[in-house]
Amino acid sequence: MQVNGEHVTLEAPVSVADYLSAHRYRPELVAVELDGRIVPRDRRADTMLTDGSVMEIVQIVQGG
């Protein structure tokens, strides 16, 4: 699958929530878009990543 434009190989099925914690993202500070759709916070635990998924994990940064 792709995460933020990079190819990532999943070893086992994993949920969005588990992916975030495994990669040490603070979940309250990011938004997740999977295949072009936002995964709401309350759906992260039961939304599974699959081969071919395209995920974007974004955060707020400094800016004008």
């Binding site: 933020n4 434009g5 040490r24 993202y25 603070r26 500070l29 990011v30 938004a31 878009e33 936002i38 709401p40 916070r41 974007e56 994990i57 974004v58 955060q59 707020i60 940064v61 400094q62 800016g63 004008g64």
Partner: protein, 289 residues
């Protein structure tokens, strides 16, 4: 020949000063904070006392809090990017109670702006969005046509849309019609500190506007912010002018006073300009010759 009455204690007592507001000004004797009778800045039904919007740009993170506090600002802009690490987030450095205004920088068309706005809403939990659509990095000029499209789409989704725009008065009306909660015309090129170069067109936008007009981009000095406010702008946004100053918190404070002073001057009503014609301010009679 008329007689000039001498100033005596009795004559002074007979003409008391109007009630003077209490002021608490840490720097100089600038405009009294909060002493001016004013209506709040209303953005999509949300009210703000401060008329200074601060960019969170590229400060050292440790300076952001001081800049925000000295600016007296209630709204701080942000951007949205792919997350690398969330260990050291700018959100950790923004004081409580500040309204976050995410922008759509990086968007090249309306659809990309809508996508960024939705993601920013998911992170910030706010409906505020500053629409910013640009195609190139040399001049960073906003694409008004795409901005109008994005504004219409986002307003329909319930966003409080604050579009950054090239100061075309006709497009400003189109943005209002599209549902903008405010319009944000540029004073000059982003980050240039060039000042209020577009003043004549901004004046027309202010004259025609039924939503707040917030001067964004290019304001390089407090005096330019004050000029924008004297003209009747509803608020000023600045970042580079503050961030590129020698003392960032002090410059934030200088802007705060200038914006308050300009607002007070606008509310007071500026006197008439008599181009090329002097008007005596002392009696023209009773001369000693």
């Amino acid at each position: 020949m008329s007689v000039i009455e001498p100033v005596t204690e009795a004559s002074v007592a007979a003409t008391p000063l109007p009630p003077q507001p209490e002021t608490h000004n840490p720097v100089g004797t600038a405009a009294p904070q909060g002493a001016v009778e004013d209506t709040p800045l209303n953005l999509g039904g949300h009210e703000f006392i401060s008329r200074f919007i601060l960019g969170s740009g590229r400060y050292d993170l440790n300076l952001i809090r001081a800049a925000v506090e000295h600016a007296g600002t209630q709204i701080v802009t942000m951007a949205l990017r792919r997350a690398t690490t969330t260990e050291n987030s700018v959100l950790d450095y923004i004081p409580e109670g500040i309204t976050l205004l995410p922008n759509t920088s990086g968007a090249r068309n309306a659809e990309e702006a809508v996508r960024i706005a939705r993601l920013a809403r998911e992170v910030c939990g706010t409906d505020f969005v500053k629409v910013e659509i640009e195609h190139e990095t040399r001049y960073l000029l906003p694409d008004n046509a795409e901005t109008i499209r994005a504004t219409e789409m986002l307003a329909k989704e319930g966003f409080v849309v604050m579009p950054y725009m090239f100061p075309d008065p006709i497009d400003a009306k189109r943005l209002e019609d599209a549902g903008a909660a405010a319009v944000m015309p540029l004073g000059s090129l982003i980050g240039s500190n060039m000042g209020l170069r577009m003043r004549d067109f901004i004046r027309i936008i202010i004259d025609q506007a039924t939503v707040p007009v917030i001067i964004d981009a290019g304001i390089g000095r407090p005096s330019q912010a004050a000029e924008a406010m004297e003209m009747g702008a509803d608020a000023v946004m600045a970042y580079t002018a503050v961030a590129s100053a020698g003392n960032i918190p002090l410059m934030a404070e200088a802007f705060r006073h200038a914006i308050a002073a300009g607002r007070a001057a606008y509310l007071a009503g500026l006197g008439k300009v008599t181009e090329g014609q002097a008007v005596p301010s002392s009696p023209t009679t009773g001369y000693l010759h």
